[in-house]
């Protein structure tokens, strides 16, 4: 893995990160990936990202670094995606048929319903310090990338775009119970991935 941004070298462009081509390229790639997953239409996704950049240029404030700037631009993108999804589903019929949920992940629970030894969640202590750590966000994004498509999509709609459950069911065409199954599995996987790649290291031996 290569570190793309040297924080010292980049500090000159902190006032307006959009003047750093590498930062823009990286940000745009991440935004297009998010938007495409949500909208299932590459050209709509490109449009949403474009509009988010326009919004970012219009409202350029001052930010303490690129992480803060990225959060802000992603916040604009989030609203564009929500608008687009609501427009798309305005005329959508209520889902009548369930798509098959993604397969149950192996290894979380024993047959009788208890956690397997490997999957049982450990104590993370207070995890909030991680939210200030740029490296944590890279791990977080990598873990999101490893979710199966349907789980990733509905989880992001719920927790990133912040749509309500009925809106997601209409947008994706699944029932509430199917949605809940997908969200449950996404949470199981995501927390397992974060424990494996981030919080696990800080875990004291039992």
């Amino acid at each position: 893995m290569t570190e793309r941004g040297d924080p010292e070298a980049a500090s000159a462009s902190v006032a307006n990160p959009l003047h750093d081509p590498q930062f823009v390229e990286d940000l745009r790639r991440r935004m297009v990936r998010f938007a495409t997953l949500q909208l299932s239409d590459p050209s709509l996704a490109e449009d949403a990202v474009q509009e988010a950049f326009i919004g970012a240029l219009r409202g350029a404030g001052s930010f303490a670094g690129k992480a803060a700037y990225r959060s802000w631009v992603f916040g604009i993108l989030r609203h564009k995606i929500a608008d687009q999804l609501r427009a798309q589903t305005r005329y959508a019929a209520a889902p009548v048929e369930d798509a098959e949920p993604d397969p149950v992940p192996d290894g979380f629970f024993e047959r009788h319903g208890h956690w397997t030894r490997e999957a049982a969640p450990a104590d993370w202590g207070d995890p909030h310090a991680a939210l200030q750590d740029d490296q944590f966000w890279r791990v977080f994004e990598a873990c999101l990338d490893h979710l199966p498509g349907q789980q990733a999509r509905v989880f992001m709609m719920r927790e990133f775009v912040e749509l309500e459950s009925p809106e997601i069911c209409r947008a994706v065409g699944i029932s509430t119970s199917n949605l809940n199954v997908n969200l449950h599995r996404a949470r199981l996987r995501l927390r397992g991935c974060l424990e494996q790649h981030w919080f696990g290291e800080q875990e004291a031996a039992p």
Binding site: F63, A64, S71, G75, P127, E159, R187, R191
Partner: protein, 67 residues
């Protein structure tokens, strides 16, 4: 008695809708006895918090900037 698979499903749904009193009771009894599920419940809430922080300028950064 509810097993971990079903208990964590309820804890996940707890983030989507208000649980019935019966479901709440089952979850409370389960987490009282099961440490991994207690951890899962906290972590599911933390995932939500993280995702929402992801698309917001961290308040601390804004404060540091103005100081």
């Amino acid at each position: 008695m509810m097993k971990c698979r079903e208990a964590t499903q309820k804890m996940s749904e707890e983030l989507e809708r208000p649980l019935t009193l019966g479901e709440q009771a089952s979850v409370l009894v389960h987490v009282a006895m099961c440490r991994p599920c207690r951890n899962f419940r906290r972590q599911a809430a933390f995932l939500r918090e993280s995702m929402r922080a992801y698309a917001r300028a961290p308040a601390d950064d804004e404060r540091n900037r103005s100081q």
